[in-house]
Point group: C2
Chain length 370, copies 2
Amino acid sequence: MKIKYHLIKEEKNTKARLGKIETNYGTFETPMFMPVGTQATVKTLSPEELKEIHSGIILANTYHLWLRPGEDVVLHAGGLHKFMNWDGPILTDSGGFQVFSLAKPKDITEEGVKFKNIYNGNQMLLTPEKSIEIQNKLDSDIAMSFDECVGFPHTREYVEESVERTLRWAERGKKVFSNERQSLFGIVQGAEYEDLRKHCVEELVKMDFDGYSIGGTAVGEPKDLQYKQVEYSCKYLPKDKVRYLMGVGDPIDLIENVIRGVDIFDCVSPTRLARHGHFLSMHGKYNIKNACYKEDFTPIEEECDCYCCKNYTKSYIHHLIRSEETFGQRLLSIHNIRLLIRIMEDLREAIKNDTILEYRDNFIKNYYHE
Amino acid sequence: MKIKYHLIKEEKNTKARLGKIETNYGTFETPMFMPVGTQATVKTLSPEELKEIHSGIILANTYHLWLRPGEDVVLHAGGLHKFMNWDGPILTDSGGFQVFSLAKPKDITEEGVKFKNIYNGNQMLLTPEKSIEIQNKLDSDIAMSFDECVGFPHTREYVEESVERTLRWAERGKKVFSNERQSLFGIVQGAEYEDLRKHCVEELVKMDFDGYSIGGTAVGEPKDLQYKQVEYSCKYLPKDKVRYLMGVGDPIDLIENVIRGVDIFDCVSPTRLARHGHFLSMHGKYNIKNACYKEDFTPIEEECDCYCCKNYTKSYIHHLIRSEETFGQRLLSIHNIRLLIRIMEDLREAIKNDTILEYRDNFIKNYYHE
């Protein structure tokens, strides 16, 4: 079946929404943060660990899985859920962001994007149809339309052209989409131009997607611009469909964008930060390698309920990360993802109580020690 | 309390022994294989995972923990068990093997071994007293005497001198040993010379250690020589004390040395092999990166009860290891350690049934596909 989005409640003072998404692999509440399993694994973690930190849904990358192991291997395995032993919902991206940001050199035409395979040098062509074909085979619960992700800065002229191309690509992808169990999202582009965002939303809604993503963020734009892009998108998006903001994972940004009407997020930051020894907390971001933690025998956060905080001290994790032991990265990955999901839980509670602005102000005060 | 070794049964046709060791952190049966937690972590694994694969005891390295984080950090944490969140038994080595094999340049004198700290270039001196002092602070359940590990090849003359030094060092270490909860083992050296092994055992037994290690193996000697060294040691060792063969982890060697009277083993091989994509099985050693596994949707071993084999296919692990994902290393580490521990379980059963020689012959036939 397609996913079903249920809007449970709108927060009184903001655009924040409490919702619920039903999928073939279970139901989860929104707002929700999705950990990223780039290569069909959330780096260092097991599916059981992801469940334990209440990950409602995870993301996998079409670009990476296309190149390795190849979508046919995943298809023959019985789909991504079976391949990676994850029985919760999975969202796949379109591969667009990766070909635009990782692949070099690349050549963008109406047909799609040409680039060189980084593993074997082969010429590759990712088109809207190919992206959908791969995602249909991966058999994720939610697939993304192939779009052009415009960088920052850019000219209005380029964005105008690009939005039209993204709309044509969305239509082409939808036409070949053929997996009954899967839902397909359209992607809203248009940078910081409200009229372009509005136009893009209207055209996408005519095509009637199962949900909508907000793209063109997390490409180096200033924060206030990111928030505006989200506002200009959510303002026109239908209330009865889920809204996904791509690539955003900073705690403050999660809060600000939930306030603007976003339901789901993904970002590699919690696991990437972990691999570099950074931990997130309600009181800011720190580096566990700092000498001050050498004999700190307290957990990362006393109030955190994760496996890392319940069982290990900063001193031990400091030692593991300094010793380049992957168990340290694993512990910090667990904690960092759990922290973002705890923020989501807090936000859901704040939406119920119509207190999300107080929550934000308080959070910012604690996070920046104001 | 000191550990208590209980000899339960001797196999009828060989020197193999079924036993049981009581410690402050639980009881385990022997023969037993110890996974190695070099830096107070068995690479990629959690304590829960080690429990799940029935690790009765683990090993930690004095040399590494001395240099980083330093024994005082571990002491202040409340000892190694608390520091690393492992509530099972721990054995620490003396640091001898590491200073002899890793540290360069080094200078061996009667006092101890001088070498340069690899992290900061400082001049370091490891003496029998220092090794014991560090281990007393680490608060492992079983500590090792500081010995000279002679390489291969060597001259009889050098081994003669070295055995005497090892005996003097054992005595010096025993003298300063001051942790009531900890047991201390003496280390049998003497290379392949039966008279020297006999002499070394006799002198150590006079000092009355809580158990005995067999050293000078796993230094590049041929297999038949290793087995002889073990025979020449076990022949003279007291029956009521546990015997630990250091650094041996090849499946066939485990079996051959249990047959010769060894109770416990340690080796980095199962986790090191895992990190390079190798898996062990009852049917030999293989590399999961091999193209033949790309679409092999069966587990590594159908008959294995480990988390890896119960939940993942060779195809998925092939993908993870090729993609350099640490979750792949983690799955193979779980399986490889479990395989060695399963062999130990088989050996204990074979000792009960007096069928260890049949077990060995069968194992070798399967392992080498004869």
